[in-house]
Amino acid sequence: MTPALLGNLGVSLALAFSLLGLALSLLAYHQGDGRFLRGAKALVAPAFLAALAAFLALEWALITHDFSVAYVARNHSVQDPLWVTLVTPWAALEGSILLWGLLQTLYTFLASRKPLDPWRASLVLAVLFGIQVFFFGVMATIASPFQTLPNPPADGVGPNPLLQNHWMMAVHPVLMYLGFVGLSVPFAYAVAAMVVRRYQTWVGETRWWTLIAWGFLTAGKVAGMWWSYEVLGWGGYWAWDPVENASFIPWLLATAFLHTAIVQETRGAFKAWNFAFVTLAFAATVLGTFLTRSGVIQSVHAFAEGPVGPAFLGAFLFFTALGLGLLSRVSREVRDTVVFRPLSREGALLLGAFFFAGWALVVVLGTFYPLLVEAFAGAKVSVGAPFFNQVSAPLGVGILFLMGVGPLLPWRKPRAEVFRNLYLLLGVLLLGTLGGLLRGYTLGASLAVGLFLYNTAAILLLVREGVLARVKAGLSPWGFLANRRRVGSLVVHFAVALMGLGIAFSQTYRLESEKTLYRGQAWEVGGVRMELLGVRALDEGRRFAVEASLRTDRFGEVRPRLHFYPQMNSPLPAPKVVYTPGNDYYFLLMDFDREKGEWASIRLIVTPLVFWMWVAGGLMALGTLYILWPVARREELKGVSPA
């Protein structure tokens, strides 16, 4: 038995089980026969085990340096440390698809264990098996992770050095895939709901899946931003790179869905929106892979290119057509008949969802526009960060505004006391913004201060409301914490406001300066005084490092580096970041004297409030966890299915 044999066997078996499962679940639906459904369910676990075997086979090949496997030869080297070897399965295309497929079988397994009426159960399984057929079909044909080489090399080049430079690369892709795959379950339920024409219950039944997917996507995005900040050496966290956009689009649509789903759960409205949003959110995850892997858009993240692009484009079109086609078939039945007021909880939620969906549309437009121009006009144009920042700013302001007032508005009709709260909040917003302007901040930064204070005040008002209601009813005020959905969402909302503040300030007030220092020369910039002590080279086995030593007045000695990898033709910067609650100080070594080590070019980037963005990212994950964790267990104990 070789790793390649086991891997191919695993992929083939997973494909076979998925195909069989798809056929059986479709039969179960058409024949209305429970035996077929039991048969399909029986295939869920074997498909997962086969996928797991294939994944472990890839790890096996990597750990044993089996360079007869093409993937290993391309992405692994005997010099790689163990942790890099273990995360190499998602360093390139084929392994990433394998991980995606494995997670899909895991989610299918978990989803199939929840009790559901046989009609929808067979349809949900059919959709999930269908997705698996696509992934394992791709792996079995055009993107096999286990293709072998007739003449294996003695050693490979190792994964892209960008991936070896930071441990976050072990975490970020897995979180993203967990989020992407998580969206497949609500999508499958939505398809089933539209086929059997039972439009109401699916949103409640998949609430946990949606939240889990959203939580992973959020954590994954923030982890990716942090990785970009720590590793790429440009002192930023978001470049509006096509690949970043590709994973931002599903996040935006999932966020829109999360909010309109609440309205359907509570008021039974917005059914059509929910079907549309969940379809687009899921399809966007596939579109993202098309963007990343087809090489249609050149970007720093496009580590691999292959024939996979067209397959993913086809899958994107298929899933979109499936969801929206079914929706158009039942559109007359899901139309809203209730009257909505804009000044109500549902009004704010719908408006907010529209902002998120509109934002997704703008990002799609900006990302694809250069492609369209190139295809139809033959011209090359760039649509970069300045465009995205300008169109995103008003949308972000709108979202931050709705986020404060929305949860305070009651369902249906505003009550008189609500207006008192509204005026109070508007006062806070106005004063905060004016205060910012008086301190000399730009309009955007002042608005961010105002919106942060306004959101904090709104959250305090909500907490006060909840606590007072409990005290009046003679209950312990701490019981408010048991309302996990409310408390968790408030934590996430606060984190979003904090994130907004961090983004506004770090984008507006960024100081970047570069100077060549000779040994012993001092430089004072951005509130730091530094002196170059020396430059030295270090041999670290798989790479060379050149390190500059700087003595600073505030942070002691800092040592930014440049890393030289044999497989890269320009060095990778390894910045030294000093995090402080106010400003981040980002030291970079840009160039150095190769002959005597007499001088070094140092770049210093001072960015305010970035620290709080990572705090906000952590709070978002914690808030989501707070909503999900124990309630799911308790409901399961009560026998209520959370899925």
Binding site: L232, G233, W234, G236, A239, D241, P242, Q298, S299, V300, H301, A302, T337, V339, F340, R341, P342, G347, L350, L351, F354, G358, L361, V362, L365, G366, Y369, V373, A377, A379, K380, V381, S382, V383, G384, A385, P386, F387, V391, L511, E512, S513, E514, K515, T516, D539, F544, F564, P566, N569, S570, P571, P573, M590, D591, D593, R594, W599, S601, R603
Partner: protein, 142 residues
């Protein structure tokens, strides 16, 4: 020293030849502000402020030089547009073929506003005969 340390020395030499042998010039924050709006022509999705490639280093040097000569931001950007075409600008110009990328979001927002307005507008009441019919049926014994 390991064998491939030789490679490192060789590599350093090659890298140095691509760039400059004398120390690079000092760069003020204004240089970066301009460079951030320009694409690095040989990179994938990096601006001239971030990239460490020879071209980007040279672009930063040119920007610093032109700023020293008293040129304005727009003049410097125009210089690079003349050299590489409008593709070099990360902010698409609001005319010609890239005008639509600016107009479409605005148009979309207007359409969205109209759609939402229609959605929130009170629905027309049902015709009275239909309401009577509904009332009658509700009162009917099952």
């Amino acid at each position: 020293m390991r064998a491939w340390a030789l490679w490192f020395l060789f590599f350093l030499g090659a890298w140095a030849q691509g760039g400059l042998t004398s120390p690079p010039p000092d760069l003020s924050p204004e240089v970066f502000a301009i460079a951030r709006e320009l694409r690095c022509p040989v990179c994938q999705g990096e601006s001239a402020a971030e990239s460490n490639s020879g071209v980007a280093v040279e672009m930063r040097r040119l920007i610093a030089e032109m700023l020293g000569e008293g040129k304005t931001k727009d003049e410097i950007k125009a210089f690079f547009v003349e050299r590489y075409g409008e593709w070099i600008l990360y902010e698409p110009p609001k005319r010609g073929v890239t005008l639509w990328v600016w107009l479409l979001p605005v148009l979309g927002l207007i359409l969205l506003g109209l759609g939402l307005f229609a959605y929130f507008r009170p629905k027309k009441p049902l015709p009275p005969e239909l309401l009577e019919e509904a009332e009658r049926r509700l009162k009917e014994p099952q």
